[in-house]
Amino acid sequence: MPADPTDPFQPPTPEQFETFLRDHPANPPTAWQMRTPWLIALVLIVLSFVTGGPVSAVLPWVALIWLIGHTSFRSRRMVSLQVGVRRTQETAMLRRYTQAMRQGWRMLPQVTPIPMLHGQTVAMISHCLDTLGEYEAAIVGYDYLLAQLPPGQPITVHIGVSRAAAALGAERLSDADDGIRRLRGPVEPFTNTPISAAYRLAMLTQQVRTHHFEEGVQESEGLIDELRPLGVDAGYGHALMALCHFHTDLNAGDRDDVSNPAKTWWRQATLLLPPDTLLKRFPELQPLTELS
């Protein structure tokens, strides 16, 4: 989505996001809060036995109406919040990240009583920040989620991979390296899924950011299959592999003759994603634009 120059939107800083999450944590109702409507109904029924006359006859019905009304209100509220979060996620899916960020930011305080929706909203905001290049702020969100989620679950592993990739984006190389090493085992059961593909892309990004281009080339066998679950986003991986070949050729002294593999990988990358999109996320791909 091209940025609108008139849009006053400023993504939150990591500190702002951290404070926001601290002010609006997931806050599910306690067991007593859940029981309160039933206790009120019980009190009304007991009162109906204690009192006499018409009040006594009316109170049980009041209790029943109260319970039905309360349950109905709660379920309507729940559905309304679910629809709100789903719409926000759809906006993010349509790559309108700024708009999705705004909606998510407004939704978060409302969904604090429902931990599932709260987690989904934080994940969506973090993903938007990540995609907008606000890696440090995204890491705040990912860390918050990782502290809440049970280890080993697919969503936990996926967020762990996203966090490692964001750390690479933020040039926190040793932090990213720790994350990638730690995730090697947990990622294994998710072969041929977007999780393993995102992990492979993170590894390739690490090789590029640490200038291990030859290592990247050596490990390129099967890369297309490994990246495939990412869909068109596999284009980022193809572009990074083209860069690995490009620098390997330069290091080998073939300054004037860029090898066919570099051109092939770049052609594949631009077949999946436009060069502008590739450059926006990985500015180091700039020299490859001459290969087009």
Partner: protein, 313 residues
């Protein structure tokens, strides 16, 4: 990567296939296992479905009438002892709540049935069979149980039965379950396409277009509509707004995105847009694995994907 594996499926498999053939695809092991599994719920018949709804309705209305009449009598009768009257009212209310508890219990298990359909259709069917026997159920809870049955049959590739269940459900007032109307229509559309019933598919598509859908379901509708257009030979319609369609296809999971590209490749080839067909085909080969591409071409449920001629030979 110097050499991309040549993806040139068997040309014999590229032609239009028998749309009525319902042999399951060989590489979908989960579905095969499911279809080979013992069936615990007898084949669906609309008559039994309507009888189930009728029995539920009769029991619930009878119970409600008893509660209301008894309560009215106790309130209006001046001779009744107040405490006894209250106790009877409470008993009736308790009975009414107990009847509804059956539905609430079944309703709470619906998500676990949905989850089971994904990885253990046999277990899901057994659980569903148990719940379908319970009476009385609130109308929309029973409808949701049948919706899950349609999902199981769809997964087992028993598309004709799945289509009949969907049609029976769509003929009912879904009430609080009306949000399932979109998924039901999508399931019906796919089942009709799998059965080669283009008229039925068209009718489902028409209804889907009159239905507001969330994004994910809109994407599914787009893929199924494209599949319908390719099957029906409406290549111009399939290619209309191709740029926007591809933008939306890119939001789909990789294999669905690849299938969309393959379908559009077919239409572009047949419509003589060779350059577009080549471009789409190259993207298809990146988005789908050779096995997936082969499956697209050789599946009995093939949409008759036609690959453009290989530019290298």
């Amino acid at each position: 990567m110097n050499e991309q594996p040549p993806i040139n499926p068997d040309p014999d498999a590229n032609g239009p296939t028998d749309q009525g053939d319902q042999t399951p695809p060989t590489d979908d092991r989960a579905a095969l296992n499911a279809s080979a599994s013992p069936v615990t719920i007898p084949p669906f018949t609309p008559d039994r479905f309507l009888r189930d709804l009728g029995i539920d309705s009769t029991i619930r209305w009878t119970a409600l009438v008893v509660v209301v009449v008894a309560a009215g009598y106790l309130i209006l009768s001046e001779q009744t002892d107040t405490t006894l009257g209250l106790a009877v009212v409470m008993l009736l209310a308790f009975g009414w709540i107990s009847i509804n508890t059956i539905s609430a219990t079944v309703w709470r298990t619906l998500p676990s049935i949905t989850e089971l359909i994904g990885h253990n259709p046999v277990g899901a069917e057994a659980l569903l069979a148990e719940h379908l026997k319970r009476r009385p159920l609130v109308r929309w809870v029973r409808l949701m149980l049948y919706h899950r049955l349609a999902s199981i049959r769809h997964r087992q590739q028993r598309f004709q039965e799945s289509a009949v269940i969907c049609q029976s459900l769509l003929g009912q007032n879904l009430g609080p379950a009306r949000r399932q109307r979109g998924p039901l229509l999508l399931m019906l559309l796919e089942a009709q396409l799998q059965c080669g019933n283009l008229h039925g598919a068209y009718a489902a598509l028409l209804e889907l277009h009159a239905q507001p859908l969330p994004l994910v379901e809109s994407l599914q509708r787009l893929a199924l509509q494209t599949r319908y257009e390719v099957l029906a030979g409406h290549d111009a319609a399939a290619l209309a707004g191709v740029k926007q369609k591809l933008m939306l296809a890119e939001l789909m999971p990789a294999d669905h995105c690849g299938a969309m590209h393959a379908m559009l490749t077919t239409s572009a080839t047949r419509a003589g847009h060779q350059e577009l067909a080549d471009w789409l085909w190259r993207r298809t080969c990146l988005l789908c694995s050779p096995a997936q591409v082969k499956h697209l071409f050789s599946s009995p449920f093939s949409i008759g994907v036609v690959a453009p001629p290989d530019p290298n030979g």
